[in-house]
């Protein structure tokens, strides 16, 4: 049994079907990346795991089904999420943003806060700053930090590098790797930046128009034409 099993998932936003029979398996302690062009359904996949869309099919973590549970229950079951647009609380301080993340994991606050500050020292320096005044890179750090505050065993990160400068991208990559190595979290990221995904993840799923077009290890897919096809059509 894999840590996370997604089977034949179809997801809908109102009338539009965004995913068609998507199946993804993740082993405990893995980092995998879902890659594909804009609109391929990457964010929808993560939103669906979090219970934010209407779905058919099955999503199981450690054998337990997540389908039909509310987001709050999924979070307290051990799934952390850093969404693409961050969805931070703009007029709250960095510290308060992190503390909201601790809503269901109140006994771990001190330990988690120490971890977050160790991963992103900048968040400790600026803990009283409102997130609405922060740069994109800082917001990404708050978003990841808030996800960590939920004590996740599975961490979902949507487009960790979008809009970020290359230097910040590598900082984020280092942090994500540490979260897996030191905290033992299993990580699923989505990336439009396929090259970044290949440096971070062990395995890739290529998504195109809501369908899994290819999957495999980074080495298997590096020169696979199906990867570039997903972006350019041929």
């Amino acid at each position: 049994m894999n840590f996370l099993e997604v089977n034949n998932l179809c997801a809908f936003y109102g009338k539009a079907q965004a995913l068609h029979n998507v199946s993804v398996d993740v082993k405990a302690g893995e980092i995998i990346a879902i890659v594909g062009a804009n609109g391929a359904g990457k964010s929808t996949l993560l939103d669906s795991i979090m219970g934010l869309t209407t779905v058919t099919g099955d999503i199981r973590m450690e054998g337990k089904s997540l389908v039909g549970l509310g987001s709050a229950a999924i979070v307290s079951g051990g799934v952390g999420y850093a969404p693409e647009r961050f969805n931070l609380f703009p007029y709250m301080s960095v510290q308060d943003n992190l503390l909201v993340g601790a809503f269901t994991a109140r006994s771990d606050i001190e330990r988690n806060l120490a971890t977050v500050h160790q991963l992103f020292p900048r968040l400790e320096e600026r803990k009283n700053q409102e997130t609405s005044t922060q740069s994109g890179g800082e917001r990404q750090m708050v978003s990841l930090g808030r996800a960590l505050m939920t004590s996740p065993r599975l961490l979902l990160v949507d487009e960790p590098t979008i809009g970020l400068a290359p230097k910040v991208c590598s900082e984020i990559a280092v942090a994500l790797r540490k979260m897996r190595d030191d905290l033992g979290a299993t990580i699923v990221i989505t990336e439009q930046n396929a090259n970044f995904a290949m440096t971070l993840a062990e395995r890739l799923y290529v998504l195109e128009s809501g369908v899994v077009k290819a999957q495999g290890t980074v080495d298997e897919l590096r020169n696979d034409t199906r990867l570039t096809e997903a972006y350019f059509g041929h």
């Binding site: 979090m50 969805n87 007029y91 503390l99 909201v100 809503f103 269901t104």
Partner: protein, 282 residues
């Protein structure tokens, strides 16, 4: 001097009145036009329990808050939630509900207005102005509640969750906060606050079935002018409205007490729809 003291006292009361309305507008993004009815219910519950039955005043106040809270919870479950974010439908149905509740009060207590005895009797002189202990108590209680609320919202998990839901519902949900439960809680809290304010408001003016309209208008003004749901903004604007009213009454004409409040609502909405302190915080 008299104006300043009167203004301060009245504004404190107005801040308390507007607070519950602000909470709902901020967390639930809903205009609860039946908000004034909490004040109505609070006033009459207190009247029945403490003035008619002679139960100690503090218990009467507490029970008024409990009933207000229950009405708030019921309103959320039976009205607001089934209408799921259809703002116009919520506004219209809460307006109808307010009329229903008003008629309910007429049914039980009759049409004529009643005098609510002062919660704390007596008068004192402050810098040449005569101040009733009653209004003074109301103002002190209102400040105490507001300060308590401020720290509750800032420093507790539930309070922060309320802020979170008001700023980004999806962000709150993926942090493990159930927005529905927070909404529920906020409606209950809003009801309790409104009912408490109602007791003080009724003892300041009088108890009558139509006493809900003026506080509703004040709340609307405070929320609109202050921008969406800020506690500090509410406090500031409650003072603007309160002082304008005191000034209008004492300097121009008592009949014009509400005119400037209306003009303020219209002016701000047309010129700066996001409010004077327009940012979305709690």
């Amino acid at each position: 001097m008299q104006i300043i003291i009167q203004g301060l006292l009245l504004s404190g009361l107005y801040a308390l009145i507007a607070m519950g309305f602000t909470l709902i507008f901020s967390v639930g993004r809903v205009l609860n036009l039946a908000y004034g009815a909490y004040l109505l219910i609070g006033g009459y519950v207190y009247f029945t329990i403490s003035q008619t039955l002679g139960v100690p005043k503090l218990i009467g106040l507490l029970l008024a808050a409990v009933v207000g809270c229950l009405v708030g919870l019921l309103k959320y479950r039976l009205l607001v939630k089934p209408l799921k974010g259809d703002h116009v439908a919520v506004e219209i149905s809460t307006l109808i509900l307010a009329v229903v509740l008003q008629a309910g009060v007429v049914f039980l207590y009759g049409d004529s207005s009643k005098i609510l005895l002062p919660i704390v009797p007596g008068v004192t002189q402050v810098a040449g102005a005569s101040v009733t202990y009653n209004l003074l108590t109301a103002t002190i209680a209102s400040w105490a509640i507001l300060i308590g609320l401020y720290f509750f919202v800032r420093k507790t998990h539930v309070g922060r969750a309320m802020q979170a839901v008001s700023m980004d519902t999806k962000g709150a949900a993926i942090s493990g906060v159930d927005p529905d439960k927070i909404n529920m809680f906020t409606w209950g809290l809003s009801g309790a606050l409104g009912a408490t304010a109602g007791v003080f408001f009724a003892s300041y003016t009088q108890l009558s079935p139509s006493m809900w309209v003026a506080p509703l208008i004040i709340s609307v003004a405070v929320v609109i002018v202050g921008g969406i749901g800020s506690i500090i903004g509410t406090l500031i604007v409650a003072h603007i409205v309160g002082f304008m009213e005191v000034l209008a009454v004492s300097v121009i004409a008592p009949e014009l007490r509400g005119v400037f409040t209306m003009l303020l609502i219209i002016g701000v909405l047309v010129i700066r729809p996001q409010g004077l302190f327009g940012r979305e915080e709690l």
